[in-house]
C-alpha cells in the first residue's frame, strides 16, 4: 500500500495548464521537497492534494483511500493538512488562540454547549489551552503565547504556521515555503524544527526554493516545470543534474 499516491492529475485554468498528467507517490515518514521555477505548479499540486482546487482528471489516494472527491475538512480528518505561502494567520488573535482554533479536538465547538454547558465548555477550553501551549512550546513560541499574531516577527509567524498545522493532528504535513524570507538564524531554527517533525513520525511534503536547504532536509525531491513532473530522485542527483539546473536557474542564454 502506498502512502500518498497522486495519479494522472490534470488541472487547467481557462487555457492555462497548471498541472499536466502528474503522477507520483511519497513514502511515509519521509521528507519530500517540491522544487521548480516560478509557475511550475508547486502550489497547484498542494491545492489539489488538499482539495482547495478540484483536479480536472486524475486520482489522489491517501493510505489506500480515494480522497479525490472528498471535502477539505474530510481530508484534514484523514490526516492531511497544509500551510500557506502567505501564512493566513488570524492576525488580531493571540498566538494561543490561533492554535486553539486549529486544534483537531472538536469538543464544545457548538453554540448550545457554549450557552447551556458553560462549565463543561470552560473545562474543554482549558484542555485546549494546554494542548495549544504544548505546541507553541514545541515551535519555541511559548513565551509569546499571549501576544497578537500581528505583533510578532516574520520568522515567528512562520513558526506559528507550523504550530497551527500540527494542531490539526494531521500526519502528512504540506508546508508551502516554510523557509522563504527567513534570516540565517531563523532559517536554521526552521530546519531543526523540520528534522524534529520527521523524528515525530510526520511525513512532510515541502515546497522549497533554496537548494542548500533541500539538501539538508529532503529524502526525495520532485522537480516540477510548467505543470509537469520532470524528475524525481535523491536530492544530490536532482541538484547535480545540469539540465534541471539550467531550467531552475535559467540557462543564461
Amino acid at each position: 500500500m502506498t502512502y500518498l499516491n497522486v495519479s494522472n492529475v490534470n488541472k487547467s485554468f481557462g487555457g492555462i495548464r497548471a498541472l499536466t498528467d502528474c503522477s507520483f507517490s511519497i513514502r511515509p515518514m519521509e521528507t519530500t521537497c517540491v522544487v521548480g521555477p516560478n509557475g511550475a505548479g508547486k502550489t497547484s499540486i498542494f491545492n489539489v492534494i488538499t482539495g482547495f482546487i478540484p483536479a480536472d482528471t486524475g486520482r489522489i489516494e491517501f493510505k489506500g483511500r480515494d480522497i479525490t472527491a472528498e471535502s477539505r475538512h474530510d481530508r484534514v480528518e484523514a490526516g492531511i493538512a497544509r500551510t500557506f505561502q502567505n501564512l493566513r494567520l488570524f492576525e488580531t488573535m493571540t498566538l494561543l488562540d490561533n492554535v486553539i482554533v486549529c486544534l483537531g479536538d472538536n469538543g464544545a465547538n457548538d453554540p448550545l454547549s457554549a450557552v447551556f454547558r458553560p462549565f463543561h465548555t470552560q473545562a474543554v477550553l482549558r484542555r485546549k489551552r494546554e494542548a495549544a501551549m504544548m505546541l507553541l512550546e514545541q515551535v519555541g513560541l511559548a513565551h509569546k503565547a499571549g501576544d497578537q499574531a500581528a505583533n510578532i516577527s516574520y520568522g515567528q509567524k512562520k513558526l506559528l504556521c507550523i504550530a497551527r498545522v500540527l494542531a490539526t493532528g494531521a500526519e502528512l504535513l504540506l508546508l508551502d515555503e516554510p523557509t522563504s524570507g527567513l534570516a540565517a538564524a531563523a532559517l536554521d531554527n526552521m530546519v531543526e524544527l523540520i528534522h524534529a517533525l520527521k523524528n515525530q513520525q510526520k511525513t512532510l511534503l515541502i515546497v522549497e526554493h533554496n537548494t542548500k536547504i533541500v539538501k539538508r532536509i529532503a529524502d526525495e525531491v520532485l522537480f516540477f516545470h510548467r505543470g509537469t513532473l520532470l524528475a524525481k530522485g535523491k536530492p544530490d542527483e536532482i541538484i547535480a543534474n545540469e539540465d534541471l539546473g539550467k531550467i531552475y536557474f535559467g540557462s543564461g542564454a
Binding site: 488570524f90 465547538n109 450557552v115 485546549k128
Partner: protein, 286 residues
C-alpha cells in the same frame, strides 16, 4: 416616570436585536441588512399566536424557533457568497419579508397591521404598564447578553472570530465552517425572534413599517456606533440612538421635521463612525 420606562423597554428590545446583528455581522462578518425582517417575523409569529389564545411563553418559543429557521435559510447564500455580495442578498430577504407582511393580509392584517395584541402574561403575572414590562425586557436582555458573552468566550466563539479574519485558514485547519455558520445564524435568528415577540407584546400593535429596511439599517447603525463584537456596544448603541428622537422633542422644531432630522442624524452618525471610529464607542481598536 412611565416615559422613562417606555424608553427603557424599547431600548432593551432593540439591544436584543442588536445582539442578533452583532453576532452575525460583527463577529462572523456575515453582513446582513435583514435583521428587522427577522424581528418582524418573530413579532408576527408571537402576536398572531397570542391572539389565537396561545400562552405568551409558548408564543415566544415559537417565535424563536421560526426566526432561527428563517434566519438560517436567509443566511445560506452567505455560505457561498463573499461579504459584499451577501449584503445584496440580505436586502432581498428584507424586501421579500416586507412584501409578505403587506400582502398576506388574512394573516398579518396587511398594511394596516395587527392591533390589539394581548398583553404578555407569564406565570400568572401580567406585564401591562411600561414599568412592569421593563422587568420582562430586562430579564430577556440579561439572558441574551449572557449567552452572547458565553458564546464569545467559548472555543466556538473563537472559531467565529477566526472565520471573519480568514475563512480559508479555518477551512484548512479542518474545521466545519458550514456547520458553524449554520449554528450562528440560528442563534442570531433566535435573538431577533425574542426581540420581535417582546416588541409585539409591548406595543400591542405591529405593522409592516415597524420592520422595514429603515429599521434594519437603524440596527446596523446601532451596532456600528456602539461597537461591533462587544457586549457593551450592543447595549450602548441602541440606548444612544433611541435617545436621539427623545432629545429632539426637547428642541422647539416643527413636528413634521422631527422624522427627517432623526433620519439625517442616524445617517450622519453611521458615516462619521465608519470614517473616524469604525470600532464604535465600546470597540477595541481594529
Amino acid at each position: 416616570m412611565n416615559y422613562f420606562f417606555s424608553f427603557l423597554v424599547l431600548a432593551e428590545i432593540f439591544s436584543i436585536v442588536a445582539f442578533s446583528t452583532n453576532l452575525l455581522m460583527g463577529v462572523v462578518g456575515i453582513f446582513s441588512v435583514a435583521q428587522a425582517a427577522i424581528m418582524g417575523i418573530g413579532a408576527y409569529t408571537s402576536g398572531i399566536l397570542v391572539m389565537m389564545g396561545v400562552p405568551f411563553p409558548l408564543a415566544v418559543l415559537a417565535a424563536i424557533a421560526v426566526c432561527a429557521g428563517v434566519n438560517l435559510i436567509s443566511s445560506l447564500p452567505s455560505l457561498r457568497l463573499a461579504g459584499d455580495y451577501f449584503i445584496i442578498t440580505s436586502f432581498g430577504t428584507q424586501l421579500v419579508a416586507t412584501a409578505v407582511f403587506i400582502n398576506w393580509s388574512s394573516l398579518t392584517g396587511g398594511a394596516s397591521g395587527l392591533s390589539g395584541i394581548p398583553v404578555a402574561t407569564m406565570f400568572g403575572y401580567s406585564f401591562v404598564t411600561a414599568s412592569q414590562f421593563a422587568v420582562l425586557s430586562t430579564l430577556a436582555l440579561c439572558l441574551v447578553a449572557l449567552s452572547f458573552w458565553l458564546i464569545l468566550r467559548s472555543p466556538y466563539g473563537m472559531m467565529l472570530n477566526a472565520i471573519r479574519l480568514d475563512e480559508i485558514a479555518v477551512v484548512a485547519s479542518g474545521r466545519k465552517v458550514l456547520q458553524t455558520k449554520i449554528g450562528v445564524s440560528a442563534v442570531s435568528g433566535a435573538y431577533a425572534g425574542i426581540g420581535g415577540a417582546l416588541y409585539a407584546a409591548y406595543i400591542s400593535f405591529i405593522d409592516p413599517v415597524s420592520f422595514d429596511i429603515h429599521v434594519s439599517v437603524l440596527v446596523v447603525t446601532m451596532v456600528v456606533v456602539g461597537g461591533a463584537r462587544t457586549l457593551a456596544g450592543s447595549i450602548i448603541g441602541p440606548f444612544l440612538l433611541l435617545a436621539i428622537p427623545q432629545a429632539l422633542t426637547l428642541i422647539d422644531i416643527p413636528s413634521t421635521l422631527v422624522g427627517p432630522i432623526r433620519q439625517l442624524i442616524y445617517g450622519l452618525l453611521l458615516i462619521a463612525f465608519m470614517l473616524w471610529r469604525p470600532q464604535g464607542i465600546a470597540g477595541k481598536s481594529l
